[in-house]
Symmetry: C2
Subunit: 238 residues, 2 copies
Amino acid sequence: MPQPISRTASDRAHDAVLRHIEESLRSGDLKLGDRLPGERALADQFGISRASVRDAIRALEVMGVVKSSTGSGPNAGTIVVSDPSAALGSALRLHVASQRLPVRDIVEARVMMETWSLAHAAEASWEPGQLDEARRLLDAMDDGGLPSPAFTALDAQFHVALSALAGNAVVSTMMDSLREAIRTYVDDAVAHRGAWADIVGTLREQHRGILEAVEARDGERASRLVREHIEWFYARTL
Amino acid sequence: MPQPISRTASDRAHDAVLRHIEESLRSGDLKLGDRLPGERALADQFGISRASVRDAIRALEVMGVVKSSTGSGPNAGTIVVSDPSAALGSALRLHVASQRLPVRDIVEARVMMETWSLAHAAEASWEPGQLDEARRLLDAMDDGGLPSPAFTALDAQFHVALSALAGNAVVSTMMDSLREAIRTYVDDAVAHRGAWADIVGTLREQHRGILEAVEARDGERASRLVREHIEWFYARTL
DNA sequence: CGTCGGTCTGTGGTCTGACCATACAGTCCG
DNA sequence: CGGACTGTATGGTCAGACCACAGACCGACG
């Protein structure tokens, strides 16, 4: 472990911690699931106060890089996680709230990514077993008593599972974050518009059609269907 | 101004501040450029400590929603900004460092967004004057004495300016953040590979060609050229 | 002997109060 | 009139303390 005691090249106190952790991630000293030293220990090592250490860790937590838990034992403390979707989604949600990013553009970007993913999934190499989860999710969505937020949660997982076939983690992550950014917005709209019973049946049919197209490795059809699926839903709901 | 004193529905102390500010952004009570109350005032209003207020503001700062400055006067304090590109870029950079997101996928996602943008820019409506900035950037990049990081910075602005023609703020933002996520990585690679003098000439030619295609509203050609441009550069550099 | 309970310990979460560096606003003095 | 000085409010940092929590440990009891 290197000597993180020097902070000569840093104005802000917490920057030293941030840069050291980023460097540790890059070098492999810190891997997914590893525990960070305690906040008091880090403060000691860097010669700064615990408040500044918390400042740095807070930033990492917002970016979805670490997760803090209270208590003791192996599951407690600050551990390295990897949740970029939630982090990007939260940030995007705030910028939608401040009207910097229009909901319309979010939906359009999602269509771009979903169509791209399915078009590439048709040409990529993957085991047929990778579709098992997608099928399982569709079956779960057949439950008639499912409340709409639960349905849309499964729906999101279905889309992520399909897009994962394209083999691009960045696209899958961003797609998921776009959905997360407007999730509460959409759920509220669904709750107030009613007519959910009418909508959900069509969604199920569309999902089956998309899955079939992917199974047949027909990228053109899968892209077209998923575009119609998304655009129809948002036109109907928002 | 509503009653932000109650925190009955919140476990974490800082969550109350976060939710209140998000709500204020959504309702329009807080707009771009507005100043937040001071940290001490907020702590008073919410009945929590200043440390917890700072926790919430820190989260907003990481997400690119606010910016804090010391001092006094109109330019000091915490003001509402809107810098989603930098925020998303930093988060993505960390996840690249932790090897959760491969650089290859970042580049591939960028190609997807750039080609999409230029294809849509050809069909969108925009004033010819909107290309003035793109031309100005190309002229600035003709400076032979430009260090490579300065060139790539202008390069990035050029791509953002072109993609803005498609009229989708989310795509432009994400495109920019992808570039930002691997900026230092690319700059380092350029510095160590040498051969910059050979590369930069080709880049200039490619840029001119892309701009011409956009001016001619030939979306298919612009997309193809930008794809070749990006893929050539990364194949050559990384 | 085995198990249940309390206790210990270490973690992050919060609070308090203080001091510092900064940047502007007003004032005072030359 | 103008420049230097002082005042003031801001975020940034620090120190020390206490709390809630969760697992580890260990003793007492069935």
